[in-house]
């Protein structure tokens, strides 16, 4: 049978890039269908309006929304469209996906994360499962990401360090902010082990990508030097250079068409002009980020897939994961410091690059025994000035502030102190109350049902978050920070999402096999974060990249 392409990849982010590059380099023709525009280094500037205050990199919510289902005060699950609430669940819809806008702090999972159930036992109300592969199987691919995407960092001794096959990172750490040394000394005084945070950001040039230029505006911004290891800059641009990869932006896939035998035969999509198109391939790879991947599969009914593609056991969309935890911050007030100390804190550009994994596994009577914990990562308050200024628009009594009082607040906020923040990353326990389905009523601008996402969390997540938060606050106290505040909640961070198409050995409880191929569709793979049965306690991107390289190798073998 003739095909337009060997492989058709839907989506172009971290789950897509490794597959596209690997297969194009191996000599196969690869088509990438991306819903959003194709922006490059020539389009990315340090413009707060473009990055963070207008819908440039994400759809307008009135055109494309989600319905978020949350518990109301009466204990009922109630759905609300994001076009009504303004709670945006899009993370970057353009070539390279949200990896364009990450801040690139990269951690590997640890061996325990692959066997959470056998390591820590079951938990009532949580669908914990071991992974069908081990850390050892993924380790070479984590290493490959270090060199292919470009990860900078430095290995130090740590009691909970995961094993690795190479001695150190291929790139030295990015320049570090003076506050890093203060974090180090305070952590050590507390008996902790501060870790240099590995970053998917180049500290020296690689191929056509320049080194980081240290603008100080990284997370949420597209990178204008190419240093950030987005799927686009690090992988897709190289795939294009092979001459065997085609990227079609503004191509919204609304259905994977399957045959009477159950195989996928075509991707049906709307092009930039709103015209429907179809394209065939031997193998289809879905990587639209977790929520949209489940939505596409559920929308893709066929003769052998009446409940949606790969959904014959009703598993698609279930066990969606976010990242649990919380955040905190403290202020370092310049008054009372020497000029030199204040100037050091005001430095803008270098990275804080410090994390703590001392509580990655909690073994503490105060907690109630051995349990999975999490990661703490330190960062300066985001420098976005408008976002910062907006924080003083309302006074403590919820009245608008204007005139002199507003000006005085602004002056103090901007010139009086530096804020150090931390973020806590814990496992988001998979439960029956966190899943993706199709909304029965709302449709997007192409008339496809939108994803309805129930966002329930497990109480255990808060318990872990609070345990770590108490200890993270002690670091800020030790450093002499003032006005320390923190929060731990079950509200999902929409930018850290995985699960929904679990991989596993049992087709009755998973969507994908260990190779991330659908149990019931021979030529369908899912390579974004959807495959993860449990999420670990770090941001997902490195693991998504590593797994996508691993799966790409499997696909190469069957092509």
């Amino acid at each position: 049978m003739d095909h337009d392409f060997d492989v058709c990849v839907i989506g172009s982010g971290a789950g897509a890039g490794p597959v596209v590059l690997t297969l194009a380099e191996a000599g196969y023709s690869v088509l990438v269908l991306e819903k959003g525009p194709w922006l490059t280094e020539q389009d990315f500037y340090k413009d707060e309006l473009a990055c963070c205050r207008r819908s440039v990199y994400t759809p307008q919510l009135t055109n494309e929304q989600h319905v978020i289902e949350d518990l109301d005060n009466e204990g009922d699950w109630v759905g609300e469209a994001t076009s009504d609430s303004g709670w945006d669940f899009w993370n970057g819809n353009c070539v390279g996906g949200s990896s364009n806008f990450m801040s690139g702090f990269f951690y590997r999972l640890k061996p325990e994360d692959f066997r959470l159930l056998s390591e820590f036992g079951p938990l009532a109300g949580a669908n914990i499962a071991d992974w069908p592969i081990s850390y050892a199987e993924l380790e070479p691919w984590y290493s490959k990401v270090e060199s292919e995407v470009g990860i900078s960092g430095k290995i130090v001794d740590h009691p909970l360090a995961e094993p690795r096959s190479t001695a150190d990172f291929p790139y030295p750490p990015t320049h570090e902010h003076p506050i890093a040394k203060r974090i180090d000394s305070s952590c050590r005084e507390l008996g902790l082990h501060p870790l240099p945070t590995p970053r998917a950001i180049l500290s020296r040039a690689k191929d056509k990508r320049r080194s980081c230029e240290y603008s100080g505006y990284c997370g949420s911004y597209g990178c204008s030097s190419g240093a950030k290891g987005s799927a686009r800059a690090a992988l897709l641009d190289r795939a294009l250079a092979t001459g065997r990869c085609v990227i079609r932006p503004h191509s919204k896939v609304y259905k994977l068409v399957s045959s009477s035998k159950g195989k996928v035969v075509a991707a049906a999509y709307f092009d930039a002009d709103g015209q429907t198109q179809k394209v065939g391939a031997k193998i289809f790879v879905v990587a639209c980020q977790a929520i949209e991947t489940s939505r596409l599969l559920l929308s893709s009914t066929g003769p052998k897939h009446t409940n949606g593609l790969a959904n014959n056991t009703g598993q698609v969309g279930r066990n969606l994961l976010f990242s649990a935890g919380g955040s905190g911050s403290g202020d370092f007030v310049y008054a009372g410091m020497t000029d030199k100390q204040a100037e050091a804190l005001k430095v803008r550009g270098p990275f804080v690059n410090r994390g703590l994994q001392d509580w990655y596994v909690i073994d503490d009577k105060a907690f109630g025994g051995r349990a999975k914990g999490g990661t703490v990562d330190f960062l300066l308050r985001h420098p976005n000035p408008i976002g910062k200024a907006m924080s003083v628009k309302w006074d403590d009594d919820d009245r608008l502030l204007w005139g002199r009082p507003l000006q005085i607040q602004l002056k103090s906020l901007f010139t009086g102190s530096q804020s150090l923040r931390y973020e806590i990353f814990c496992d988001w326990m998979p439960t029956d109350n966190c899943y993706v389905s199709l909304d029965a009523r709302l449709r997007d601008k192409w008339q496809s049902p939108v994803a309805r996402v129930r966002i329930g969390y497990h109480e255990h997540d808060l318990k872990v978050g609070r345990f770590i938060n108490e200890r993270a606050m002690q670091v800020l106290e030790k450093m002499g920070a003032e006005n320390i505040r923190s929060s731990v909640s079950g509200a999902p961070p929409q930018n850290l999402v995985a699960g929904g198409c679990r991989f596993g050995d049992n087709p009755g409880t998973s969507v994908l096999d260990a190779d991330c191929r659908a149990h019931d569709v021979d030529n369908l793979y899912v390579t974004d974060g959807s495959f993860m049965p449990t999420g670990g306690s770090v941001p997902y991107t490195w693991t998504i990249y590593a797994n996508a390289f691993r799966v790409a190798d499997r696909i190469r073998r069957v092509l």
Binding site: R53, S55, Q60, S215, H382, K411
Partner: protein, 200 residues
């Protein structure tokens, strides 16, 4: 990675949406008619001398006055920024309608109470009337929206018409990031044909 300032405050957004409906419904038809008849002149001087811009500029200057140690709305061209923002090709018109409607409402109230328009008030009258309209949900949201545009004018890249020569950045000792956007890469050109949508 949790971009707190990227997400809009849910509560603020909801109240704003609710208000839009109620304001339109309760708005005097005469005022709407008056707004429609005020076509904005292409002449740079002329548009500022007419309502709604004249009143908006006066409100902006009250909300953010020029003082000895702080630039005021007129210094950082808040009115130019606002006009560029709500009149640009990617704008969806929602904010523009709301702001313009609010001007009519403010002046109706001003005439009712003081028999003069807002621009003829002294400073304490301005404060009194603005604090009065803050008591209603619609008025509060209108002021909140104007303040949002003011803070954007103060701190957004000068390419958008406010913050001339980085006056706002300098005042707050803020170090901008580089590279800054050239005119042909402003957000509404990058986003086209994606339409304008405010986030917070």
């Amino acid at each position: 990675m949790n971009e707190q300032d990227k997400g809009i405050s849910r509560r603020e957004f909801i109240t704003r949406l609710m208000v839009l409906g109620s304001l339109a419904a309760s708005y005097p038809a005469a005022a709407l008619e008056r707004l429609r008849s005020k076509a904005i002149s292409a002449n740079e001087q002329a548009w500022l001398d007419q309502d709604p811009w004249k009143t908006i500029a006066a409100v902006q200057q009250h909300l953010f006055p020029s003082t000895q140690d702080s630039p005021g709305a007129s210094d950082f061209q808040a009115i130019v920024y606002l006009r560029n923002s709500i009149e640009n090709p990617a704008a969806d018109g929602e904010d523009k309608d709301f702001i313009f409607n609010g001007v009519g409402w403010l002046n109706d109230l001003s005439r009712e109470r003081y028999q003069r328009s807002f621009t003829a008030f002294d400073e304490s009258e301005r404060e009194t009337v603005l604090r009065q309209i803050e008591q209603s949900k619609a008025g509060r949201n209108w002021l909140s929206l104007l303040l949002t545009y003011l803070l954007e004018a103060l701190l957004a890249d000068p390419v958008y018409g406010g913050n001339p020569a980085g006056i706002g950045w300098k005042w707050l000792q803020h170090q901008p990031g580089y590279p800054t956007p050239p005119e042909d890469k402003s957000w509404y050109k990058l986003a086209a044909p994606v339409r304008y949508q405010r986030k917070g």
